[in-house]
Each structure stands twice: as C-alpha cells, then as structure tokens.
C-alpha cells in the first residue's frame, strides 16, 4: 500500500559519513531534516569487540553484480545501518594535496576538481576541530596548509619504531599518522585505549564515528532518523527541474512517498548512482542528473598492498589503532615513481593486528595450513609487522556503474559494476609491493611478503566538475540538472589521490551543506 508522509525541508538518503554531516549542519540551521537509512538502527552498545561480530556492520544482500576485470570489493568497503561504512572505518584522515585538485591542469591528464585545495581547507579545519583529530602537523611535512591538529599524535609502539627504522635506512621519512581518534579526552569523549578494535566499531566513541559526532549533533538539533528505509527513486515534479522527494520501501514492504524541498543522496558511491539511474522518467530518460551521460562513470578504487614480515623482537602488534601509527607520503608526487608510473602513493605503517579476519595474521599467508598454521599464528602474534600501501587510481570513463537485468526483492535493478584497475594504478602497486619488501628487510625482518592487489575506497560515479557536459555535480555537490538535488560521499571525487577518503568526504559534505543554507531560497525553488 502506498503511503505519503508529511513534507520535510531536506530528506537525506544514507546515515553514514556524508549524510551525518549534512544532517547535523542543516538541522542546526533550523531545517526540518529526515535521514532515511536502508540498513538497521545501530547503537554503540551493538559494537562488540570482535572481528567476527563486526561483519554484521556490512552488507551481504546482493545489490552489486561485478562484471569487470577487477573486483570493487563492495561488501568489504560498504556499510549498512546508522554510521554506514564510517562506523567500521579506520579513521586514517590525511588531507588531499593541492595537486590532487588540479591534475589535468598541472599534468594534462586525468581530471580537475571544480575548486582548489584552498577552497576546501576551511572545511577540513572545521571538521578537524569538530571531531578532535590527533597528529603532528609539523612532522607531517607533506601536509598542505592547515590548522594544527587539536590533539597530540596517536600511540607509537615497538611495532611502529621498528618499521620506522626501515624507512630511515632507505632515507625515507615517517610522521605520526593523522587520525580521527582521540589521543586525549575531547569534548566529553574519552581517549583511545589502543586496543585495535576500530574495525568492529568503537563503542566508547574515541574514534569519530557518526554515532558519536555528527549523527549525535543532528539528533540533538531535531533531525529524525528512519532505519530499514530503502530508497529506490528520487522523484521530480511536472517540469522535471525540481526533486519533490523520494520513494522508499519499509522492511514490511510498504511503499512510501516522502516529500521534501531538497534531497541529498549519501548512500555511498554505487548506491547513489543506482538510485539516480533508477529514477529515470520522461524528463530524464537516462536517469536523474544524467544529462551528461556520466552518472556511474569514472568509478575508481585505490589499489592497496599489504606488507607483512616476521621480526626477531616482540612487536606489540596487538596494540594501537587498526589504521596504523605512522605515515609516509614520500612517494606522493605524481611523477615520483621510479618506474615512470603516474600518480601518488602513501604508506600506513604499523597497523594493529588481530589473529583472524581479512586483514588478520592468518590471512597474510593463506597457503599455510595444518600444524604449520598454528605455529605461524603463535609467531605472528608476537613477531609480525604490518603496513599497507595505497596507490592512486586514474579516473577512466569506461569504469562504470549501470543497472543490471537482475532485480532485488523490491523490484529495483541491481547495480552492474564494470571496473578495471587503471594501468597507472597497476604499475604503482608493483612499485609499492617491491618497495615495501625493501623497507621491511631494511627494518630487520627475517622474512617479508606482500598480499595480492585489493580494492580499497570506492570513489567516482557522480563526479564534481565545472560544467554540465563533463560532470554530474557542480562545486557545491549540487546537481547541474536538478538544483535541489545534492550528493555526498566519495562518489563525487573526480580524482582519487592516494589518501583515505573519509576526511575529504566530511569536508565536502560540510561545504555542500553550508552552500544549501546560504542559498536556500534558490535551492528549494
């Protein structure tokens, strides 16, 4: 049965990183805000310290059909329920660099953003103050201009100190890794205990997940959240120029029309494109906000390489944060690769380890079994070191999200994803894998090895740009075609850089929300 709800000022689709920022900023400005989340309600008390139980925070229901050469690793990267992927993210928050925003201008390839770093900097600074970031801006020599971190750096144990020796021996520099994790109490939230359970969600709120920062603020300001609300379409009015709300389905199968003066899609990279394409109507036959034909295109993912090694000393690898203790961006220059590959790289150094799960000790050597596996686990728990390299992916138009023939239980087509890691990303990964082994050997590892290429951080598909012919959104994350439709999340990135995207996602959401407030009269139409 169809049901219509009372109109709101803004309906936000998705309660993750971007959606929570939009909700807080808009509700605090006095707007009537409703957040619809496809997944479940989540509370801090749900966040059991267990890699096994952490899997509840991610999807299994099929919404993505992989049809490309490489996997996008959707289930591992995405999240379901309040907090979205940011509930299980590692809170490694470096800023993008100035050149990341002007790659086409500076190098004649890839894409440009429709603004420069200096335009986004105030929002990085504001978010950093809001969440309480830990780091050392002076030591982080690669960092673009920005306010100092409000808190001192995260814990460095023997794990970090040992691996840093390897970098030093090769004349490479390390600095405390910038993290949205509290090294000291901040704004009523406690400091981290360095227990390495970031992936399972942080129930004490030391890690700035949406439940303890922006969703909490949004609720306090009067925003409403509705779980198990699967948005299937954005609706438009008679002219097709304005969004009039969204269609969603409840867990009980009820179809609901939610009217609103503006819509913000923050349902993560693939789902945002899927909803837009499924919203095709007579005014928008190829999908909403898609006059450019670019909705779904320029899909990207970082290529990650995990380096592991056994050392002769106790590494204390069970301590710290899952995202690491130190950072190295010496290879961030787009043309710094010794093999001539184009793009940036970074190292996240000394990740806290658990015995099990995808990034756990056992999985680093999947070919070992039997009694040897027990021995390996014993050794790994004491002597293993770990770091992860992240490599930039170039935006390729052929990497795209489309609608599949298969449908979900609501009758909505699944997302069909065609993805091939860019050639440059592939070469950067090779360089990183070789360099990582050298670093570990220089640090004293008796044995060192790397894992296979893995897709990390899903970006693109609804990119920002200067005009309606070459992009989906303008510099305020506003649709070129439908002026009261905005999009948040890493899907709006035109280039991927080599930094973890969540800090930039927050800054962009704050920028978009401020634009909405300042231009509300014209936005709502």
């Amino acid at each position: 049965m169809d049901k219509a709800r009372e109109a709101v000022d803004v309906v936000i689709v998705g309660a993750g990183a971007a959606g929570s920022v939009y909700a807080a900023v808009l509700a605090e400005a006095g707007m009537k805000v409703l957040v619809l989340e496809r997944g479940r309600e989540r509370k801090l008390s749900d966040l059991y310290s267990s890699q096994i139980w952490a899997r509840r925070l991610k999807w299994a229901a099929p919404s993505v059909v992989e049809a490309g050469t490489d996997s996008i690793w959707f289930n591992f990267n995405a999240g379901q329920g309040y907090g979205g992927a940011a509930l299980h993210h590692y809170a490694v928050w470096p800023r993008m660099h100035e050149e990341d925003f002007r790659v086409r201008t500076l190098y004649g390839r890839s894409l440009d953003w429709p603004f420069q770093y200096s335009d986004l900097r105030p929002f990085y600074d504001q978010v950093q103050r809001d969440v309480g970031m830990s780091g050392d801006a002076a030591q982080e020599i690669w960092r673009p201009a920005g306010d100092p971190y409000p808190l001192p750096p995260v814990l460095v144990t023997n794990h970090g100190r040992t691996l840093a020796r390897g970098f030093e021996a090769l004349d490479m520099r390390t600095a405390p890794i910038p993290m949205a994790i509290l090294s000291q109490p901040y704004n009523g939230r406690p400091a981290c205990l360095w227990d390495g359970w970031c992936d399972a969600g942080c129930p004490i709120g030391a890690l700035a997940n949406p439940l303890v920062v922006y969703l909490a603020r949004a609720r306090l300001a009067g925003a409403h959240l509705r779980a198990n609300a699967a948005v299937t379409r954005v609706l438009t009015g008679k002219s097709g120029l304005q969004a009039t709300g969204v269609e969603y389905h409840t867990a009980e199968g009820e179809r609901v029309i939610q009217p609103s003066a503006a819509v913000v899609l923050c349902a993560f990279t693939i789902e945002n494109a899927r909803i837009l394409l499924n919203s095709a109507n007579k005014h928008h036959p190829n999908g909403l906000a898609n006059s450019s034909g670019l909705v779904g295109r320029y899909l990207m993912a970082h290529s990650a390489v995990g380096i592991s090694g056994m050392f002769s000393e106790e590494m204390e690898n069970y301590l710290g944060a899952t995202g690491g203790q130190l950072l190295c961006q010496d290879a961030f220059g787009k043309r710094s690769d010794p093999g001539g590959a184009f793009g940036s790289r970074q190292w996240m150094i000394a990740l806290a380890l658990k015995p099990n799960d995808l990034l756990g000790i056992a999985m680093t050597k999947p070919g070992i079994f039997g009694d040897e596996l027990h021995e390996f686990m014993q050794d790994g728990a004491r002597f293993m070191g770990s770091m992860v390299g992240i490599c930039e992916d170039e935006p390729l138009e052929d990497n795209r999200i489309n609608l599949a023939r298969q449908k979900d239980k609501l009758g909505m087509p699944l997302a069909r994803v065609e993805y091939r890691r860019s050639d440059e990303g592939r070469k950067l990964w090779q360089t990183a894998a070789a360099e990582g082994l050298k670093i570990f050997k220089a640090a004293g590892a008796a044995d060192a090895w790397h894992g296979p290429p893995a897709g990390q951080h899903i970006m693109g598909g609804t990119i920002l740009g200067l005009d309606a012919a070459s992009s989906v959104l303008n510099s305020a994350s506003q649709s070129h075609d439908v002026k009261n439709l905005f999009i948040g999340g890493p899907g709006v990135f035109p280039t991927s850089s080599a930094v973890n995207p969540t800090f930039t996602v927050h800054a962009l959401a704050m920028k978009g929300a401020r634009f909405m407030i300042e231009n509300w009269a014209t936005v709502k139409g």
């Binding site: 310290s49 509840r56 999807w59 015995p355 056992a362 039997g370 014993q378």
Partner: protein
C-alpha cells in the same frame, strides 16, 4: 620464535574453551559446548550429517582442533541465519547467496576431488592424503568442475581460524590480551 605442538594446542584449547551455542532441545534452547551437543546427538539445522563430516575433516586438516572447537556448529548456525546478519567471512569474499549452497557445493567438490586423486572418500583418507587434498585446494584460482575450490578453501580456512583464534580464548592461546570494550556473546545468536 613460537613453538606449539598439535597435542599441546588441543589440550590448551579444550581446557579453555568457553564456546557455547544455543541448540534447540525440546521446546526450548540450551547453551552447550559443541562437544556436549555432539554427545547429545543434537541435530544440525542446515548441513547433513555427511556434509558436516566432510567439512569437519577438511577443517581439521586446515587447522587441527577446529572441529572439536565447534567449526561445524558455527557454520551450521550461520548458514541458517539471515545473510545480512551472518558472521561468515564469505560475506567479504562476495560469495553468492545462499551461503548454504556454497558450502554444500564445496563439500561436494572436495569429495569429487578426493575420489579423483585418491580413489576414496574423505572420511577414509589418511592424514597425508587429506593434506595433499587441502594443498591442491589451496592453489590460487583452483577450480573443480567450475566450482571455485580455492575460494571455498579460503572461506573454510578463515572459518576455522575464527572459531579457534577469533574468541577471547583464542587470544589467550596466543598469549595476547583481548582488551574488549564490549565482550562478544559466548554463542553466535547475538
């Protein structure tokens, strides 16, 4: 470096195992260790007796002792759950739903491989023959009659590691602190 024999591992693990699952008994449920459930001959919900035997043999070959610590009951419990709530690593490997079919096909593929390589059922294989079978399954990209045997091996191996080392008792066996904020439930029902 660390040194642990299989005998010492099993003794330590069984002595310290607190893994308990909720099993239907009559009109109610009981929290039981897998060993106790086995002694009571409580039925599995999804896996057949034959499939359970195959998976347990493979699990023990992959990580000795995982069978006694409840691998099959963990799997059977999860294969009966809503997949979005499932705790299996199959979720991360993007295994097609239903997971039940994947594990059942995996047991079938392993059986077929065993017959082809050793001419016998998995239950009749020697430790060496079982090790050779697991080695074959562990080859990257390995398939058998189009079934992704290596993916199945990766999942089952991770399940075994979960059951043995993913709990507070597993951490204790590795002499590392668990340091939980919120302790996970002893059973798998949440």
């Amino acid at each position: 470096m660390g040194n642990i024999t299989r005998r010492r591992f099993v003794e330590t693990a069984l002595k310290s195992s607190l893994l308990r699952l909720s099993f239907p008994v009559g009109a109610g449920t009981l929290l039981l260790t897998p060993e106790a459930a086995r002694a009571r001959k409580l039925p599995l919900r999804t896996l057949s007796h034959a499939q359970a035997g195959i998976l347990e043999s493979l699990g023990d070959a992959i990580l000795p002792g995982s069978g006694k610590l409840g691998l099959i009951h963990f799997l059977d419990h999860q294969l009966s759950a809503d997949p979005n709530d499932a705790l299996l690593i199959a979720k991360y490997f993007e295994v097609a739903l239903p997971y039940r079919a994947f594990y059942q096909s995996g047991a079938g593929a392993a059986t077929s491989m065993a017959r082809r390589s050793a001419g016998k059922a998995i239950a009749d294989m020697s430790k060496g023959e079982l090790g050779a079978l697991v080695k074959e399954m562990s080859a990257p990209g390995k398939t058998h009659d189009e079934f992704p045997v290596n993916l199945f091996y990766m999942c089952l191996r991770s399940d075994a590691v979960d059951v043995v080392y993913g709990s507070p008792r597993g951490f204790e066996m590795l002499n590392i602190p668990y340091m939980q904020h919120i302790a996970p439930p002893e059973g798998w029902d949440g």
